[in-house]
């Protein structure tokens, strides 16, 4: 009988090929649609993450408080050590030191006298180390209008807007006037090697990009950094995970060091930091418990508002603290919005295709009442007919979903890797819009199973509903559908 039914299934295209195609197409659409929305949302967050927040970042507690003033006197020390620790604790992330600085940019004329001057917002990025992946995530090749990427310590890239304002070109020398980490006045010469436009509206109006080695040299910040940015290796901002490691870090690492610094001699704490790498993971797991016990009667650092009372002399204010992308207030609402928007859109999308496939299952069933009536008349039991119908739907649904998932994920993956370039459309819309030019999709784990909801569940439910008529109606009625 199975062979007999299989023959029918294969020969009757309206039973096999068309539903299969319908399921493949819908499942592909669902997966790509969701993957694309995920990607678009993530892309939106990612550009913020690249420029200003990381997926997470580590700063000193004091720096965080004053961060809008770019207070490099409150910067992190011993960044190499901290970064090593971070890699150890959270190997799913990659870490990169960053120096963000303000100042004046001075363009001298031939005689070395000031020709043009403008406030500048500079970022020293670890471009030269592979592990930092900064060349990759900044995608500067794409945004470079002229010149080339940084090659030497004293090279600088300047935004096209600032270059225009200061009237500088490739090869120009520019002088940064700023203050060092110890609040001393400093000037430093950079060579302009490239001009970029991030296509993010006014975001790069005053921006120069230098290598962190140059920034360290200029600002006298050896082995120091304003911030250490962390990105998930997949470059996908996983909000839950970012919040998890932020809490974990602050509890197990930052707070315990703060407590030590407060209670004991600071070099103990520093050696603790240094020794962190040598401590086994098992021991690390044990530590937080003791530290949290010790902290339980001193909640000072859990509540940021109580910071006001903190004397600047307290060495604990220099302990590193991790901040997740969502911790800055506007970004939190954006992340929440994007999560909710994603779920709502995905749900609407799913409901629509479920209705479509449900209907298809239903119609396919209805269409075959005559056949069912006939088979019942020839002597199949209702159960047999119903079961064969469901098995067929499951089979088609499953194969269709599998193929659709494969197709959908491949398509999503392709767009994840290569993107869809919308730059022309966007340029036509508005040059001022802060929108990425290229939309990327994102293959997330749910894409692998979400297609089964419409593909198998809806199809089978529709078929089951249609099939119920086999039980409900008198068999003689089923014929009428065919006789008519």
């Amino acid at each position: 009988m199975i062979k007999f039914l299989a023959k029918g299934l294969i020969r009757d295209r309206s039973r096999s090929l068309f539903p299969l195609l319908a399921i493949i197409i819908t499942v592909t659409l669902v997966i790509f649609g969701i993957g694309f929305m995920e990607g678009a949302m993530n892309n939106f967050l990612q550009s913020t993450a690249v420029i200003s927040s990381g997926h997470v970042k580590v700063v000193t507690k004091a720096y965080e408080k004053e961060s809008n003033q770019l207070p490099n006197d409150l910067a992190l020390f011993e960044t190499d050590k901290i970064i090593r620790t971070l890699y150890n604790m959270y190997p799913n992330y990659f870490w990169s030191p960053r120096i963000t600085f303000g100042g004046l940019l001075d363009v001298p004329n031939k005689n070395g006298e000031t020709k043009e001057q403008a406030p500048v917002f500079g970022i020293g990025i670890d471009f030269f180390s592979e592990k930092s992946r900064q060349v990759e995530i900044w995608e500067l090749e794409k945004y470079l209008i002229s010149g080339h990427l940084l090659k030497n310590r004293d090279d600088a890239l300047i935004s096209s807007k600032l270059a225009e304002q200061l009237n500088v070109n490739i090869g120009s020398a520019i002088t940064l006037i700023s203050s060092t980490m110890d609040n001393a006045f400093t000037t430093y010469n950079f060579n302009v090697v490239g001009i970029f436009n991030l296509n993010k509206g006014q975001a790069d109006r005053q921006m120069i990009l230098v290598d962190i080695s140059g920034a360290r040299q200029a600002l006298d910040m050896e082995d120091a950094a304003s911030e250490i940015f962390g990105y998930h290796n997949s470059l996908y901002y996983d909000d839950e995970d970012a919040v998890r490691i932020r809490s974990d870090f602050n509890l197990t690492y930052s707070d315990s060091i703060a407590q030590m610094l407060r209670n004991e001699e600071s070099y103990n704490a520093l050696s603790y930091m240094a020794g962190w790498n040598k401590i086994s993971n098992a021991e690390k797991r044990k530590l937080p418990k003791q530290r949290t016990d010790a902290l339980s009667d001193n909640q000072m650092y859990d509540n940021i508002d109580e910071w006001e009372d903190l004397s600047v002399e307290d060495p604990a204010i220099f302990t590193p603290k991790m901040i997740a992308l969502r911790d800055s207030s506007q970004l939190a609402s954006m992340v929440d919005f994007s999560n909710v928007a994603m779920s709502v859109m995905a749900a609407i999308f799913l409901v629509i295709v479920m209705v479509v496939l449900w209907n298809m299952g239903l119609m396919n069933g209805l269409r075959r009442y005559g056949e069912f009536g006939l088979r019942l008349a020839i002597g199949e039991s209702k159960g047999q007919v119903y079961r064969s119908m469901i098995i067929e739907a499951v089979l088609i649904g499953f194969v269709g979903t599998l193929l659709g998932t494969l197709l959908g994920v491949s398509l999503t993956y392709y767009v994840q890797e290569f993107g869809i370039d919308y730059s022309e459309a966007i340029n036509q819309m508005s040059s001022e819009m802060v929108l990425p030019n290229v939309f990327y999709a994102k293959v997330t784990s749910e894409l692998y199973y979400i297609g089964f909801i419409p593909g198998v569940l809806a199809t089978v439910l529709g078929t089951m509903l249609a099939g119920l008529a086999i039980y409900k109606r008198e068999m003689s009625q089923l014929f009428k559908e065919l006789e008519a």
Binding site: M1, F4, K7, G8, R11, D12, G370, E371, L374, R375, L376, A377, I378, G379, E380, S381, K382, G383, Q384, E474, M475, S476, F479, L482, E483
Partner: protein, 236 residues
């Protein structure tokens, strides 16, 4: 011919719910059928022929009365038991040929045998024989779409008799056929009736069929108004 009862119906009433009311499609039906009979349920449209045929075949159930078919009381059997009775002992022919369009003649005729779990070598023998009976040997691998109405109905006949059922029920088997094909079909069926011990029940208002019938049961408004043996039936 033996006097064994193939069908024994007493006091049958069939009502259909219509709106909040009941429509009585059959009432006070008493009918006996012996083995090997070749009878027609004849009457105007809406007189209850199809309804009675469906009840005999267990596709529909009686509202009142007793219906015993091939020794089984149809109101005391489950759906599954009725399915087994149909599968083993009954054959159906409908007005529209009701072939499964994706299957060949061979496969359509084979289906009842598959349901009866017959081995494939035996199936082949039976199917070939049935297809020969109805004269479709050269069309055995054709699909319904490539055949004429008469050929389709002959295929349906082959399917209905391939498992040599004790009872064959045919609802307006010639209604969609022209005169030539109708006579052809009736000849095949009455020839089969004389060769195998199957009993035949037709529902029809087709005059062309009447001449072949050996007994005619007249229905009107759900009641049997006349039940007579014909004097000189045509045969194959």
């Amino acid at each position: 011919m033996e006097n064994k009862n193939v069908i024994n119906i007493k006091n049958l009433v069939k009502q259909f719910p219509v709106g909040g009311n009941y429509f009585t499609a059959l009432q006070n039906i008493d009918l006996k059928l012996s083995e090997g009979e070749f009878i027609g349920l004849v009457g105007p449209s809406g007189s209850g022929k199809t309804t009675l045929l469906n009840i005999i075949g267990g596709l529909d159930s009686a509202t009142e009365g007793s219906v015993i078919v091939l020794g089984n009381s149809m109101d005391n059997t489950s759906h599954n038991e009725r399915a087994i009775i149909r599968r083993k002992h009954m054959g159906f022919i409908f007005q529209s040929y009701n072939l499964l369009p994706v299957y060949t003649v061979y496969e359509n005729v084979e289906l009842p045998l598959i349901l009866n779990n017959m081995k494939s070598t035996e199936r082949e023998k039976k199917v070939t024989q049935a297809v020969e009976w109805v004269g479709l040997k050269d069309k055995i691998n054709s699909k319904p779409a490539d055949m004429s109405g008469g050929e389709c109905q002959r295929t349906a006949i082959a399917r209905a008799i391939v498992h040599e059922p004790a009872l064959l029920l045919a609802d307006e088997p010639t209604a969609n056929l022209d005169a030539k094909n109708s006579h052809n079909i009736m000849k095949i069926l009455s020839k089969l009736n004389s060769e195998i011990s199957t009993s035949f029940v037709f529902a029809t208002h087709d005059e062309k069929i009447m001449g072949y019938l050996r007994r005619i049961v007249h229905l009107e408004d759900g009641k049997i108004i006349n039940d007579e043996k014909t004097s000189n039936p045509k045969s194959a």
